[in-house]
């Protein structure tokens, strides 16, 4: 079943009762663009590097080892790498140019959840190479939360290609 992506929002900020200021809107768009930028760049770097593989990352998972080991298996890892790259690029494009943003958010959250679960910053688990110090909350979790925000406020009409394909309506102003 298709998710109800184009239904009016049921959030506390309801279109009929609230609107966003230009600054609020721009801030949210800025957030969306930054996340899109990040995903796209990660995807492109991996796509252009033929020796890149997620195998080491998956095999060194600190929890759910059998699951990640299965993903890293000889028969799977090639497809997983492809899917990861495709996923990253899709999320990047969608958020950056503003098309299918909510799909992009869901895909992005799913990818980040996998990254988070493979190496969760839980006390007692090995952390591998990181540039900071984390306890339960790390940047993957932050980016997931940020994507949740973008999901709530895709704002494709404010900045995005999607507005070209759908006739703008008052009720989709927050899209």
């Amino acid at each position: 079943m298709r998710p109800r992506l184009h239904q009016p929002l049921k959030s506390s900020i309801n279109m009929n009762t609230h609107t966003l200021t230009a600054a609020q809107r721009n801030t949210l768009v800025f957030l969306r663009v930054l996340i899109g930028w990040h995903f796209l760049y990660e995807g492109v770097i991996k796509a252009y590097n033929p020796s890149w593989t997620s195998k080491g990352y998956l095999l060194s998972a600190s929890i759910l080892k059998p699951f990640f080991a299965w993903l890293a298996g000889e028969s799977m890892v090639g497809a997983i790498d492809m899917l990861n790259i495709a996923g990253l690029i899709f999320v990047g494009i969608s958020l950056l140019i503003g098309i299918k943003v909510r799909w992009g958010c869901i895909a992005g959250i799913a990818l980040l959840a996998l990254y988070y679960l493979a190496h969760p910053p839980f006390p007692g688990l090995p952390q591998g190479p990181t540039e900071g110090s984390y306890w339960i909350v790390n940047k993957n979790l932050f980016e997931m939360a940020a994507l949740l925000v973008v999901y709530q406020f895709p704002l494709t009409s404010a900045f995005g290609l999607e507005s070209m394909f759908s006739k703008p309506k008052a009720s989709t102003a927050l899209k």
Binding site: T19, A23, G36, V44, S51, P129, A158, G160
Partner: protein
């Protein structure tokens, strides 16, 4: 902030707002693609500049023909390992591995063992002077079409006409006497390291091998089969490191097993052990279980760190550099961690000097010559220090993997370092036979995962075990001709160098080699063999 309540403003077709993401998308894509592209070009440039030929050693020949009849002498820890490498595991070991695999499905030792190639041999004879071990071999290997017989003595085995080739995995003091006897009886020999236990028998064994050219002789330095060694040889040949002035090798162990404090079998007694046979040429002593099971702790039967472990490191480097016997050796050390009655040191530092040796250079002719090989060992700490070949232009870390770094003050790479095309802290070359091929610059993350060994794969779907490859090479030479990679020349270099180290430690002075007379220089009246073997 002003409220935006004008919906018409939202509906306006604002080109920038609609298409503004596209140039951003283009910029990010271009940046990613061009950065990766230029990194790739830099990597390619480095690989082409260095032009190192990365290749695993060629596989040894076919194992076809009549099954070879193999005898094993000494069925202790190493003997069992060697038999497993040949495809023969004891019942106890199989049971232990089955239990281990049940407990931990990731434990694939039994699976790997069963997947091993059939080497087309019959394990036909066993000699062990401890009845329990000999009977264990008989019980384990008299099945699945294999017939094995116990011989009371090695002489009986060699002269039986029922054994084509023998593996000698005895205490060190029996290596040469048995190997010489086997060679003279026309039985092919694979002898564990160190090749010999004293100086004079090193010459006697060399004579025996040279006298019997049709009988194949190999020394058990399985490290020669390490997948990275041909590539390391090419690094040296291409003069990537410049003049190598120092090679550092080491042993670091910190457990009882590593310090030769092996288990004493409960059924061991004068009734189950042929004590006189054990002693052989060693000084007569009363029956002693410590001596029998932990023989590596005494000079009378073993050779301590210099014979037991230095030999591996020396041979690994000799395999790559072919530097031969050192001009002189100094050694020092002591018993600092395991003061349990042993008389071989548990900490040993050995410096071998090669004043006329050079791997090639990059500076003015005549400026560079000479090299020191350092072996540094302790049985009281297991911090891994790695093996490094240190040249004026670069350093090479040597193991299963090879990593080459340019030296910041290199002459050869000075321009490239100045142009920032080479960063001295980042490897300029990496070869890892476990992953596919070679790499010039690796990311910190990739290196992290690689160092954890997580990127290991099996070669041709099978685990690469160097002992198996080394034995296979020996068997291939017996069947198809050729000389093993570690035969008498290499064994002679190894044995003499190790004995020089042992002598230096025991005499407390520099030991010199006379390359013309091919002799270790002794002081008048000095009996080097007596010094080496004495328990003092």
């Amino acid at each position: 902030m002003a409220n935006d309540n004008n919906f018409n403003k939202w509906n306006r077709r604002d080109l920038l707002k609609t298409l503004g993401g596209i140039p951003l998308f283009g910029a990010v894509w271009y940046a990613g693609a061009s950065l990766t592209g230029s990194a790739k070009r830099e990597k390619q440039f480095l690989l082409e500049t260095l032009n190192i030929k990365a290749s695993p050693p060629p596989a040894s020949g076919p194992m076809s023909g009549k099954p070879l009849r193999i005898g094993i002498i000494g069925f202790g820890i190493r003997g069992e390992q060697l038999c497993r490498a040949l495809g023969f595991a004891t019942n106890d070991w199989i049971k232990e591995m089955q239990d281990a695999a049940e407990k931990n499905p990731k434990d694939t030792r039994l699976k790997d063992f069963k997947a091993q190639e059939n080497l087309n041999i019959q394990l036909a004879g066993i000699c062990d002077i401890f009845d329990v071990r000999a009977e264990d071999a008989l019980a384990s290997f008299n099945k699945d079409g294999n017939k094995i017989k116990r011989y009371r003595t090695h002489t009986e085995m060699f002269n039986s006409g029922e054994i084509d080739a023998v593996i000698i995995a005895t205490p060190d003091h029996w290596h040469a006497p048995m190997a010489i006897e086997a060679m003279n009886a026309g039985v092919h020999v694979y002898v564990e390291k160190p090749m010999t236990h004293n100086v004079s028998e090193t010459y006697a064994l060399r004579d025996a091998v040279l006298k019997n050219p049709k009988t194949v002789f190999a020394v058990g330095h399985q490290h020669r089969q390490t997948q990275s060694f041909l590539t390391a040889q090419d690094v040296i040949q291409k003069n990537i490191l410049g003049h190598v002035s120092l090679v550092t090798t080491n042993t670091n162990r910190n457990d009882d097993n590593g310090a030769w404090q092996y288990d004493i079998h409960e059924k061991a007694s004068p009734k189950t052990i042929d004590w006189n046979m054990f002693l052989g040429s060693a000084p007569k002593t009363d029956f002693n279980l410590e001596h029998f099971f932990r023989w590596r702790k005494w000079w009378a039967y073993g050779s301590g760190l210099s014979g037991d472990l230095l030999t591996h490191d020396y041979d690994r480097i000799n395999c790559i550099l072919k530097m031969g016997i050192p001009h002189s050796v100094t050694a020092s050390g002591g018993i600092y961690t395991h003061r349990d009655g042993r008389n071989v040191p548990d900490v040993l530092q050995v410096n071998m000097e090669f004043p006329d040796f050079s791997t090639g250079g990059s500076q003015d002719k005549g400026k560079e010559k000479g090299m020191t090989f350092v072996y540094s060992a302790t049985l009281g700490n297991q911090f891994d220090r790695g093996t490094v070949l240190m040249g004026h232009d670069g350093s090479m870390e040597l193991g299963n993997r090879i990593t080459v770094y340019a030296d910041p003050r290199s002459t050869k790479y000075a321009e490239l370092i100045k142009e920032e095309r080479i960063e001295p802290g980042v490897p300029i070359y990496q070869y890892d036979p476990a992953v596919s091929g070679t790499d010039a610059v690796t990311s910190a993350t990739a290196k992290y995962f690689a160092n954890k060994g997580l990127l290991w794969t099996y070669r041709d779907g099978k685990r690469v075990d160097t002992t198996y490859l080394h034995l296979r090479e020996w068997l291939s030479c017996i069947r198809n001709g050729g000389t093993p990679s570690c035969s008498i020349k290499e064994g002679f270099d190894e044995a003499i160098s190790a004995h020089m180290a042992g002598l230096s430690f025991k005499l407390g002075r520099r030991i010199d080699w006379d390359p013309i007379a091919q002799k270790i220089i002794a002081k008048p009246g000095e009996d080097l063999d007596a010094v080496l073997l004495s328990n003092a």
